[in-house]
């Protein structure tokens, strides 16, 4: 099927123009409106010089306007780059420098961030600025168009010329050297997965689908394009709701969601606060999660409370587009230590567990997990070296992606995950290279030496990031000051939660930093903490100790 992502919108807008496509806070956007608004914005982008293959940066928080902007960029045959508006300017500067965007779209809430970016030396002077609401730039910064200008463009369809093999978006993930990696994803990469998912999950126009992750997460592309392809309703979650599990549950009830797709830390958080009632969310049909391992006790909690819902574990790194394998949990796991596999490949994908010689392992033998198939990204944006390191040739002569995950194939034919071969971790759904955090700490004046390790938080929230450092002077650098400094270059989710100032870094026999010992110290520090769950223990909350 020769379809591009924006074609799905055109088909639905033609079929059911009045049907709601997006719901966010108090606003509803119909398919007809979404189609017309994105046509207008696509023309505005073209008027700002955007041509086929150009990048359009989206400095927009989750909103109806951001979804309009996604479709507008695609209709203008451009590649959209969702930017994390919660990231510090220093990190976005590196991303913008790599992408060389022809246009950056902003709104009033991101105007301050935009002004900061424009003033940085990294900003390309030929990058144009467009506004999706009444926001404006600081005096002296020129804008290509305002929201009012956009309204003046014709709303009729555009002649897009891209074919499905063209890149649709670039998603940036943490890079171990401190430089984020831009994963290029094509239209065909996304349509392959969405087509499988809609047919497997039997999605219909009656579905009401959650839009929980932020737009720079690749899971969000399934929510958006899966919903639009099915002609269903996408209910975007206001980001601040996530923090309070009971309010999150209220949202699921009042929106009458039929599909909930999230990350394990959210499911864990809702269990911690016991926010789910017996037979809650009567409209809900399916619950999906992806991004990291869901603790089996949490899965059991959910399955016991929601017997009317199907539970599916999806697995796949950004580089292989949304998900490459799935496992529908057939029944509530009998015990808390029952292992949940990542399952079997989705249509068009293959999962391979190979040994060091790239030969298939025997069942139950641990090996490296590789993925081949239609979801494979063409590679990292303008980074042939890292692309060549991650995308190899399979024994059968196909392109394959080295996930960095350790896995085994069970006797049941299912794939089970065991851990990482490197220092990449998952924390609250975010993929983090500890090397990127360490590089950022080292760059701070006043730090002589630093090491970043991760420890388990006892199933509460996945892994917790810990930083041990040696100050350059005896007067020292407090953890509070260091943390504040780090927040200027790293997003919040990458900032260590636990700190330890040392006089000397512990070494192993080879003279290298003794990371396992550091992890042990941090674990001891946590468990030896004075914090005890007393009143909050009524809610079943386990205590977490922070230094």
């Amino acid at each position: 099927m020769n379809i591009r992502l924006q074609d799905w919108l055109a088909i639905q807008a033609d079929r059911r123009p009045q049907a709601p496509a997006l719901v966010f806070r108090d606003s509803i956007c119909s398919y007809g409106e979404l189609e017309q608004r994105s046509n207008r914005l696509a023309r505005a982008l073209q008027s700002a010089g955007c041509r086929r293959g150009d990048r359009v940066g989206l400095l927009l928080p989750k909103s109806v306007e951001a979804i309009v902007a996604i479709f507008a960029a695609l209709k203008a045959d451009c590649i959209y780059v969702p930017l994390d508006t919660a990231s510090p300017a220093a990190r976005l500067e590196r991303i913008l420098q790599l992408c060389e965007c022809q246009c950056v779209l902003a709104e009033s809430s991101t105007a301050a961030l935009l002004n900061e970016l424009v003033r940085s030396p990294a900003w390309a002077s030929n990058t144009r600025i467009g506004w999706t609401d009444r926001g404006t730039a600081s005096p002296g910064i020129a804008s290509a168009f305002s929201a009012r200008d956009v309204d003046a463009f014709p709303a009729g369809p555009l002649d897009s010329v891209n074919d499905p093999s063209a890149p649709a978006h670039i998603l940036f993930t943490s890079g171990s050297t401190g430089m984020p990696k831009g994963v290029v994803i094509t239209h065909a990469n996304v349509t392959q997965f969405v087509n499988w998912a809609l047919s497997y999950f039997k999605t219909t126009p009656d579905d009401r689908i959650s839009g929980h992750p932020p737009l720079h997460f690749d899971l969000s592309t399934f929510d958006i394009f899966g919903t639009i392809a099915a002609g269903a309703e996408l209910h975007l979650l206001p980001p601040e709701i996530s923090i309070l599990p009971h309010r999150l549950a209220d949202f699921m009830r009042s929106s009458q969601l039929t599909q909930w797709f999230s990350v394990p830390s959210v499911l864990q958080h809702m269990r911690t606060f016991d926010a789910v009632r017996e037979n809650d969310f009567p409209a809900l049909r399916r619950l999906l999660w992806c991004g990291e391992k869901l603790a089996t006790p949490t899965l059991r909690y959910w399955m016991q409370r929601l017997p009317h819902v199907t539970f599916t574990n999806l697995y796949g790194p950004t580089e292989t587009t949304i998900a490459s394998s799935y496992y529908r949990v057939p029944a509530c796991p009998p015990a808390d230590d029952t292992e949940i596999p990542i399952g079997a490949p989705c249509d068009g994908e293959s999962l391979l567990v190979l040994d060091e010689q790239l030969k298939p392992t025997r069942p139950a033998q641990i090996g490296d997990l590789y993925i081949t198939g239609a979801g494979l990204s063409p590679g990292y944006w303008r980074d042939p070296l890292r692309t060549a390191q991650a995308f190899l040739e399979s024994p059968a002569g196909m392109r394959m992606y080295r996930t960095g995950d350790l896995a085994r194939c069970g006797v049941d034919g299912m794939i089970y995950l065991l851990g990482r071969v490197d220092s990449q971790i998952k924390s609250r759904g975010h993929r983090i290279e500890l090397g990127e955090v360490e590089t950022a700490v080292h760059a701070i004046p006043g730090v002589r030496e630093a090491a970043v390790v991760a420890i388990e938080t006892g199933g509460l929230e996945g892994k917790s990031i810990c930083c041990a450092y040696v100050p350059a002077t005896e007067t020292g650098l407090s953890a509070v000051a260091l943390r504040a400094e780090l927040a200027r270059t790293l997003p919040r989710y990458m900032i260590p939660a636990h700190w330890m100032a040392l006089e000397v870094m512990p070494r192993n026999r080879n003279g290298k930093t003794d990371r396992p010992l550091l992890a042990q110290w941090f674990a001891n520090q946590r468990s030896g903490g004075s914090l005890v769950a007393n009143s909050a223990s009524e809610a079943g909350i386990a205590a977490v100790q922070s230094s």
Binding site: A86, E240, I243, L244, L460, S464, L531, I541, S546
Partner: protein, 95 residues
């Protein structure tokens, strides 16, 4: 990136806001610029740190916070958290 909040109608006791500010600094390693800083928008409070902070507040002030009654606006800033603590203390005294 912090957004100053509207000043709440009733001014919480300065001692209480200082104590809560100190708790946030000691336990979460973040120093808030003002009692009206938006702790959620600035990312100081997320799902992990919220659990931690609520526990700390309960322990420190000897109160319980009914989680299912908690609203986003109750926890948005140090001054709002102070009002929450004051309210819970009163509820305790009345019980």
């Amino acid at each position: 990136m912090t957004t100053p909040m509207d000043r709440p109608p009733e001014e919480p006791a300065a001692g209480l806001t200082t104590q809560i500010g100190q708790l946030i600094q000691d336990r979460l390693g973040v120093r808030a610029n003002s009692v009206d800083d938006d702790l959620i928008a600035s990312g100081v409070l997320d799902s992990l740190t919220l659990v931690q902070l609520l526990l700390d507040i309960e322990t420190c002030f000897g109160i319980t916070i009914p989680l299912d009654e908690l609203e986003i606006d109750d926890i948005r800033s140090i001054s709002r958290l102070s009002r929450l603590v004051t309210r819970r203390k009163l509820a305790y005294a009345a019980a």
